[in-house]
Structures are given as structure tokens and as C-alpha cells.
Symmetry: C2
Subunit: 638 residues, 2 copies
């Protein structure tokens, strides 16, 4: 379907907005009245600007408080709307969004509204434009698309159509089923917005917290599937009021907007395909390659210099990682333990080197094992993520990769039976038997990132679109120096789990880490183990500094879960944290102290299908880390 976006969705002057929208790949744009009002030139100038950028102006909006008025007021409203029709001619658009009245003195009489909307339709016909009537969720009398459609259908005039907006429907927990029953040609415009579920006034929610499809909690593929079933062939247009987007650079926001619509189309296609195998798409929906059916970490790659390599290697050795290989042509070393692999890259004049120069010791790449690397790259590139290729030495494998929102690389790695593995191709293996068991670590459970608040939703979209991950609801974690927003994303088989963190406040550990990394960075890597008591015993004996847990925690844990005395003692003795889910699944975990005041490691044991990340313990961990920093005098009290 054709993709459009309202100018209110991104930041900047009107000229900057249009340029960013065009560059992102949109075909159309809705002009918001205020953007025109603040613009220095005439509506005709805007028309030329859009045309030069290859953008169709698909709608002008909003027109408010038209219907349900006295005869005298109606005459004034018709005058008012005719001025807008003139302006639309100058602007070169034929569609006007008319919102259901919010006026406190609007008359709640459907017959009157029908009569007056009929006059609007006639005026529109005379002017050669089409009006699109939308039910605002906080309208005075008309709040649902069903009600709006009842009025539009009764007027029965081609110049008065129905406008749909996913927010207005889904924010009221209204069902979109009836949309499919409306004739598509009677739907004049469709706006799409997602939002996190929030328990607040719907107007405030709408004005400040909307986000791009896939970043919030609404079931938008279901909504859009109903739109497709109606036969609607017009644009899908993003209308996003978001305080963060208002302050973010417009090019990146617009690019995310465009890919969010591509992802929505792909998911709508799936929703339609499974529910109605025979349906014909009235307008073709975007059809990317399927996301990887299985994905997992092949290795994590850190950018290091000689000194940082020494410090990380020292930690890895205490965690009983083995030095397992040396890259054939580069200054790159491989460490392994169980199926967990860590690569330390100190190669001069490389991508890793550039990353190290900018970010210091940091996670510069993640290699993901997928079932089809070529398709995975094709899918990622289709969503507009930049493919990357570095230098490849003789006999080394070319590994397809894209850049994540922080500029780090995501490699896609195939491992096919009979073919040499990536490690065999690129490394001189000193540990030729492969990933045999060397200790209690079995692999990587999850990777947690510290992000600038402004890139949080960009990452959600990246992980959802490239890897097809699902997202849990976001939670707020209390760090002693400020709140941290946290959200987990995971693949269907849980082979890939990522946790995103961003500080609400400037003083928390996450914000400090982001500053330390100049933009983004690793929060921690969690290694999985089948025997966490053995793991912490071995690692403590080897000198791994574990984060100390206060005694009061165990008293409280006992009060909450009534644990067997033996288990409680063992947890206390090993500084282990504990969580239990409603099905009895258990999570035992421990943290190391922080390395280079940047990131730390976690050891986790999942029992009985526990599927979370120990969120109830996050505050205890954050407080212990804050004490550690406070003692070390690292608090930035500016």
C-alpha cells in the first residue's frame, strides 16, 4: 500500500520535515495546519516543495467542530471550511480531515449531524474535494468509527467519506472487526498509530505517547487486516504525536516511520494469510523474506586495545573461558566456554578499531547463527538497515552484516552440516575439538544494552523487523539515582533474548554507561548455567568479584516466598538472587562487579520454564551497584 506520514510526526521546520520524509521513502504526506501556519512561504510554495521532493500531499488537517451546531453557526462553519478548500487548492490536495466535534455545546442529535454533514459534502463537491470524517476517541458525541460510519453512510455522498485512525479505535478497547464490512471506497483515509498501554486520560495519551507501529502495545496487524478486507486502496498514513519524536533528528525518525509501516504491512499479510487464505490484497502489501526461524549467538565481539584485551581476557579466564583460536589474518582472539564464544578484536585500522576509538572497550559486533544468512540480510536490507562489509583475508569467509541503531554490527552466520564453521574458516583453532564442555557455563542467555532514551524505540523496531522478535511490556526499574526503563525482546524459541535499558534520569548507571560509551553500549551479558551453585563456587575461587547482596534481601525473600531454609542459606551464602513465577518456574542469578565502570556479567540458571529476567531483583542489584560506585567515588553529581 502507499505509505504516508503527517508532518506533526517528526521535528524540524516544514522544509526539513518534507526533506526527511522524502528521503525516508514515503510516497505521501499529510500537511498539518500548524506547520503551514508557521511556514514563511505560501501554500503554493509548499506544493512546489513537495512536488520537487516527489511527495504527494495526500491530506490537509484538521478541521474541527463542524457538526451538531445551530443554523447560524453552520453558516459560519461552511464559510470557514470553504476558506480551507481554497487553501487546499493552492496546496494541491483534495482531501480534508474533519474531526468529530469536541465542542461542549455540540448538539448530540444524529439526524442534525447527518443533515449538516450532508451540506459539508455538497460544499466539498462544489469545490472538488473529499472530506474524511473521523471519530475522535474524546469526541463530544461521536467517539467510535461505527458511529461515524453510521453518519457518513446515512449522508451517502461521495464527497463525504470515513476516516479511520487506529489510535482512536484501539485506545478505547474497541474492536476493529466491523471495518471489514464497510465498502473500501467509502473509507477516505486511514491513519495508523501505535501506543504503549497506559492508564490515563485518552486525550493526553494521544497527544504525547503515540509511537510508530511495532513500538507500542496495540494489535495493529489485526486492525490493518480489517482495513485491507474492506477493499480500501488509499494510503496508510502515520499520525504520531510523540514528545520524544518532537525532539529527535527528523531523518532518523522518518526512516523508522517508513520501516514501521513496512513491518506492519508484512505482519498484516501474515495475519490475512493465516486467517483468510483466499483473500486478494486490493493494494499489494510489503512482502519481505520471513525472519529467521531460529537464531542464537555465534559470538559477541568486543573492540579492545592491548590493555583492554588484557583486562577482559583476565576476566574470561577466571570464568574458565579457554583461549580457543587466533584469527588467520587479523589481531583477533577467540575465547570459548560451552557454546558461549567471545571475540576480542584489536586489529588496527579496522571497523573494531574505529569503534574502539569512539566508544572505548565496547561491544562492536554480534554474530547471530540463523537458518539462512542470505535471506536474513535481504530482510534487514529491505527494512532499510545498512549492509556492511569489512576487509576479508584470503580463505576467510564473507559474513553478511547490517549496522544496528548504535552503529555496531550484526553478522548473520550460517552453519550448515558438512561445511566448515565460521571459526574453522577464519581462525587457527587451538582448541580443535570445538565447543566441548569446559565448565559450568552452557551459553549466552541474554544480552542487555544501555541505550540513550532517544534510541530505545529505534532498537525495538530493529529487533522486531530484522529478527522477528516479540517484545514484553516495558517496566520501570528504580536505580537509587533515577528510574530505568527496561524492555525484553525474544525469539519464539528463546534462542535470542535481548534486554534494552534507558535511563529516565541523567544520573543513573545506565545513563553513565551511555555517556562512557559516547552513545550506547553493553549493560551486561548473562551466561546460562545448569548449576549456578557450582558456577559461583568455582568462579569465586578463581577470583571473580561477585556483587554482594544485602542480608535484608534474604529476610524479605523468605517473607515473600517462604523458601526451604537450606535453599535460603545457600542463596545467602553465594550472594545469589532468586525469583519465582506463578507456575513455579525459578530463576537463580548472580552478578559480577562492574568491569571498567562499564559493563558486568551475570550468571543465570532457569528452572521449570522460568521465562523472565528477575525483574523484582533489579532494584537490589542497582542499589548494590550504586553503593559500589558511591564507594569508588564515581558519582557524577553535576
Amino acid at each position: 500500500m502507499s505509505r504516508s506520514i503527517a508532518t506533526v510526526s517528526i521535528s524540524g521546520t516544514l522544509a526539513e520535515k518534507l526533506a526527511a520524509i522524502s528521503a525516508a521513502g514515503f510516497a505521501g504526506v499529510e500537511i498539518f495546519e500548524n506547520d503551514l501556519l508557521y511556514f514563511e512561504g505560501s501554500p503554493a510554495d509548499v506544493r512546489r516543495m513537495a512536488a520537487d521532493l516527489g511527495l504527494a500531499i495526500v491530506l490537509y488537517q484538521p478541521f474541527r467542530d463542524f457538526e451538531g451546531v445551530s443554523a447560524e453557526r453552520l453558516a459560519r462553519n461552511l464559510e470557514r471550511v470553504k476558506r480551507k478548500f481554497d487553501l487546499m487548492h493552492e496546496l494541491g490536495t483534495d482531501r480534508l480531515l474533519v474531526c468529530s466535534s469536541v465542542s461542549p455545546d455540540a448538539i448530540g442529535d444524529d439526524a442534525l449531524a447527518i443533515e449538516q454533514l450532508g451540506q459539508l459534502a455538497q460544499a466539498a463537491a462544489q469545490a472538488g474535494v473529499v472530506t474524511c470524517y473521523e471519530a475522535l476517541a474524546w469526541g463530544r458525541h461521536v467517539r467510535t468509527y461505527r458511529h461515524a460510519w453510521k453518519l457518513v453512510n446515512a449522508v451517502n455522498h461521495p464527497n463525504l467519506t470515513l476516516a479511520l485512525d487506529s489510535f482512536h479505535t484501539l485506545s478505547l478497547d474497541d474492536t476493529p472487526d466491523a471495518i471489514a464490512t464497510i465498502p473500501g471506497e467509502r473509507i477516505g483515509f486511514v491513519q495508523i498509530a501505535d501506543a504503549p498501554k497506559m492508564n490515563m486520560d485518552v486525550l493526553e495519551w494521544s497527544r504525547h505517547y503515540r509511537c510508530f507501529p511495532g513500538q507500542g502495545d496495540f494489535a495493529l496487524a489485526d486492525f490493518t487486516a480489517q482495513v485491507v478486507k474492506s477493499g480500501y486502496t488509499g494510503p496508510l498514513s502515520l499520525e504520531i504525536f510523540n514528545d520524544g519524536f518532537r525532539g529527535a533528528p527528523p531523518a532518523a525518525t522518518a526512516a523508522d516511520g517508513n520501516r514501521s509501516l513496512l513491518l506492519l504491512e508484512a505482519l498484516t499479510r501474515e495475519a490475512l494469510g493465516s486467517a483468510n487464505p483466499g483473500i486478494v490484497e486490493p493494494a499489494p502489501l510489503y512482502h519481505p523474506p520471513a525472519p529467521p526461524a531460529h537464531a542464537g549467538w555465534q559470538f559477541l565481539e568486543f573492540a579492545v586495545d592491548d590493555a583492554a584485551r588484557q583486562r577482559v581476557a583476565n576476566w574470561l579466564e577466571k570464568l574458565h573461558f579457554r583461549r580457543a583460536g587466533q584469527h588467520r589474518s587479523k589481531d583477533v582472539t577467540l575465547y570459548r566456554h560451552g557454546s558461549a564464544a567471545i571475540v576480542l578484536n584489536a586489529e588496527h585500522d579496522s571497523f573494531a578499531d574505529a569503534f574502539f576509538q569512539r566508544h572505548g572497550l565496547s561491544l562492536c559486533a554480534s554474530a547471530l547463527r540463523v537458518d539462512d544468512a542470505r535471506l536474513a540480510l535481504e530482510r534487514a536490507a529491505g527494512f532499510g538497515y545498512q549492509p556492511f562489509s569489512g576487509r576479508v583475508g584470503p580463505n576467510e569467509r564473507v559474513v553478511p552484516a547490517v549496522q544496528a541503531p548504535d552503529g555496531s554490527l550484526n553478522y548473520f552466520v550460517n552453519e550448515r552440516p558438512g561445511e566448515p564453521t565460521l571459526f574453522e574458516a577464519d581462525f587457527v583453532l587451538t582448541d580443535v575439538d570445538g565447543p566441548t564442555e569446559v565448565g559450568p557455563i552452557t551459553g549466552i542467555d541474554h544480552v542487555s544494552l544501555s541505550l540513550p532514551a532517544g534510541s530505545f524505540d529505534a532498537w525495538v523496531l530493529f529487533l522486531k523487523s530484522v529478527f522477528g522478535l516479540q517484545a514484553s511490556a516495558a517496566v520501570l526499574l528504580p536505580d537509587p539515582y533515577g528510574l530505568v526503563r527496561s524492555r525484553a525482546l525474544f525469539s519464539a524459541d528463546r534462542g535470542l533474548r535481548m534486554v534494552l535499558n534507558a535511563s529516565v534520569d541523567p544520573h543513573t548507571a545506565t545513563a553513565e554507561a551511555v555517556r562512557a560509551y559516547h552513545g550506547t553500549g553493553l549493560n551486561h551479558v548473562a551466561f546460562s548455567t545448569g548449576d549456578i551453585f557450582r558456577a559461583v563456587t568455582e568462579f569465586e575461587a578463581a577470583g571473580v568479584p561477585l556483587l554482594r547482596v544485602p542480608a535484608n534481601y534474604y529476610d524479605d525473600l523468605d517473607a515473600r516466598h517462604a523458601l526451604p531454609a537450606e535453599l535460603l542459606d545457600a542463596l545467602r551464602q553465594h550472594n545469589l538472587l532468586y525469583d519465582r513465577d506463578e507456575q513455579g518456574g525459578e530463576f537463580l542469578h548472580a552478578y559480577t562487579e562492574t568491569l571498567d565502570q562499564r559493563f558486568f556479567l551475570e550468571l543465570v540458571e532457569r528452572r521449570g520454564g522460568y521465562d523472565g529476567y528477575g525483574a523484582p531483583n533489579a532494584a537490589v542489584r542497582l542499589a548494590a551497584q550504586a553503593r559500589q560506585r558511591s564507594r569508588a567515588g564515581h558519582r557524577d553529581d553535576e
Copy 2:
């Protein structure tokens, strides 16, 4: 009354919190359960820490979901609460806050609740502690203090008392009148919180948006007056859940908390005094000197170097300011126009010099004419603002001053008939006739500041407590690069008007200005005029660059206000903005372009009692400024 604060109100580890609370001058502290849970030591360690800091632990909290349960559950709850009583003994406190149940399966039966709260009271008596029962605004059955008091009164046991919290009462628009009828000795604890009026879920509102008294919109002096009338003599304790405070340095937050209670006591005293002249305060309320009855600007002082002085002087001369004097002993120049006076301070090794080194060209001091400077200083110092004295030359006047939250100075200046004015004392006046009319400017209408978001509420408290200003509700202004929060404060006679601005987003002009100033700074100075058409004509002719207003603005203005064609033409011709209030008061104003990409000037004419600041035009001005910056390439797109 004795002042206390809950540990949850400020950031940091428990040790940092207690130190900050003690340093701020509080007598008591409420220990929040989680702070104890995250603490490394024992409750006895906390007791010792507090005692060493001279802090009484006045309450432990919260205890949840006690009443309205089955007999079996009651037995468990009594076990649970006895463990807390033991912990309280270790902690050295005798008061426990018990919140009304929020459990979905709580039984809504007052007789049952009374019976069970009676058992709680008996257990408390055995343990030698006092329980304080509080109605949460979102309680399952008990939501108002009247309902909670009905239960507590029926139990009629000294170890079960009523706890009050201003948020829970005022968030529901409940009236506090009945508090005065409750016997003071039956009120066990009083918590105080303010909040901005918000249309959202009360639990979310309470957990994230509370603020210190005076920073929000609640009528807290009325609430507290009822508490005083009841005869309550215990502490007033701040319990503030605020996302911003969680991320702010604890010392400054605690200091603001303490002064907010002092201000609340002073205002409560006034509320009681006027309503009940004969009332005896059961516990003495803070009694500072009255705020200035009249205040206005004597001068604004800018920190400059030679080059910046030249640039500012050049602007002032185009605005027909006269160079009116030279300081007797310092490199300080005085400019005047009407009653507006600007001082440019380039003195080496002075306060202004230090300010210039840190902030560049900036507003380093404001001199306020008040009716009693000594009393004004005493009042400010009583609220904990730091008095300041600089070097004084021979025959110069010692001018009392305090430091504002950004470190700039606020001088208090007396002008008594017959005494030499400050200008006569300190300056060699080249313009001996004083502030005679030199052009269309009559004085300073208002001063607008650009603040870091974290210091916004500290400024509100500063202006309210030191000058007794009132505050309008905060508004959100759309800058093309992000939202700006704005709030006006003003004195009763409007002699002093200040507008505070802080960016919600990092990319707006306000945030840029704050960055440019390294912390805080002037947004603009608005000069008043009685004839704005004459003013802009003269100033444009003199070469003052006025901000251009788009033609579309005037079309829209016409549509909104139906102005006489002549007025509309005149406005358009002079790039003037226009606003009209509901009483027909009018506001005509114009802006200059930005000086040094930092601040700008405004010219305003108020007609017919207009009392606002042209808020509907702010977006037009912000967009025009954004275009100006965009053209100049100053957008920081990081």
C-alpha cells in the same frame, strides 16, 4: 512544627539520603521499606546512622493489605506485622504506616475492618508501637480520610491512629474541612505532598508526579490549616514520589524540601491568621518576615568581556538606551531607557568575571527594588538561600544579595525618599536627570529564563519563597525541535513578572541556550512600551533586526479574531504578534532576532488589563527562531 521527609523522596543510597536530609535541616525521617531492603547493614545500623546525624526515625512504612480478609489470612497478616514490629524496635521507631487495602479480594465490610483493625491495635499495644491507618486514594474500599477516620474512631484504641496524606485527599478533589473536627491526638501522622493538576490515573499520578509544597497546584495551606486546627502536634512529613527527584542530586533536593515546608508553614500561618484570628498554634509555625509588598527591577546586570560589551551596547544604543553612568571604582557601565536599566559588568576578578568565565555573556545579577531590603534579605536567608557580599569600594553602598538557584545574584535595593539612589551612590552619572523619558520604552515588563529541566521547580520555590510570587499553571509550548515547559510567576501588583522555560527535549532552543550558558541563562527580556507601533518603527529604522512573522499567521489571526483590516495591516507591516483575552484585553508584541545565539529581546504593549504573555503566539515565534537557526546552520543534530 517538626519537619520530616520520607527516604523515597530523594535519590541516592540510604547513607547518602540520610546525610542530605540531615544537612537540609530536617528533624525527622520516614524509612521506606525498600531503602532498608537495599541497605547493606542491619536496621540497628540505620538507627545508629540516623542518631549520629541527629535525625529521629519518625515512621516506618508501608504495611499493606491488612484489613478486610479471611480469618486465616488475618492470622498470617498479624504474624507478618509482628515481624515488622520487631524490625521497628531494631530501627528505633514506634510508628508504622498501614495503608488501606488495595487487594482485589479485600472484603468491603466496615464491621469486619473495624474488628480486624482492633486486633492490629492490640498487637501494636503489646509491641509498644502505634499504627497509623491511611486511606489510599486508590484503596479497594477505603479511599477517603473520612472513611478511614470512621474505622479508626470505631476501634477507639490509642495504638491505632489516623494517618493523613494531602495527596490522597486533594487528588480526589475531596475537601479537607472535616480534618479540623478530628481530635489531634487521634491523628498519628501527617504526610504532605503537592502535585500539578493532571487528568490521569490517580495511582500513576501519585507514583511519578508528586512534588514539594508550592511547586504544584494543590491548596496545601488550607489543608495544613485544618490539620493545625485539629490540635495535631506531630511532624509534617514530605512523601514525594517524583521521577525527577529520583535522578537529581540529593543535597539540593532535600534543601528544597525543607524550605518548601517552611514556606508551607508560613502560608498556613497566614491562612489561619486571616480566617481564625484567635487560634492558638498547637505547635509553632514558621514565621518569616513578610515578602516585599512591592518589587520591581532596578537593573539587570550582564557579565561581559570587552567584545561582548561592545555587542550588547550596540544593541542597546539601537534601542535608544543612553549610556547613563560609569561605576566609581569598577569597570561597570550603566545604560538607561525609561525606567529600564541595564548594567554591563566587565570588572576583572569579580563575581561577574567568574560568571563570565563559566557562562559567557549572561545575566549574572538582577537588582530588585523592594520596600525593605533588610527584611527581604532576612526572609531569603531564612529560607536557606545563601547571602552574598562582594567587594565594596569607598562610598559605595553595601547591597544585600542572595544567590538564585543558578548561582546568579539577586540584589535587594531600597530607594527611600531623600536618600541617594543606588545609581547616585555607586556611579558617576553622565545622565544626571535620572530616568527621564528617552524613547518609547517605559520599563521592564518581564524576564524569561531558559532552565535545565531539573532546576525548574527549584526556581518556582525560590521565587515563591523569596518574593512571595504567585505562579500560573505550566503550559507546554511546541518548538519545532521539541516541547518547552513554561510557567509564569508574578507579584500581586505585577511589578515583577518572571517566565521560566525548560526543554522537555534535548534539541529545542531552550536546551541549546542552557547548553550554551553551561547550566542556565536568560531566554529574553521584555521591555514595555505604551506605543509599540512607534517603538518598532523607531527601532527598525535604527537597525534593530526584528524577527519576521510568516504571512500565514495573519490570515489565521484574522480567522480567529476578525480584526479591523487597518489593525491587521499594521500588525502585518510591523511583524507584530497579537493576542486578546476573554475580557477584551489586548497584547501586541514583537521580538528581535537572537543575539549571540543566546537571548533576544521583546517589546510588549499591554492594553485593557491583558495579564498574559501571548502564549498562543509562542509556537509562531519558536518556529521563526528555528528557521533562523536552521538557516544559520546552528542546529545540533547529534
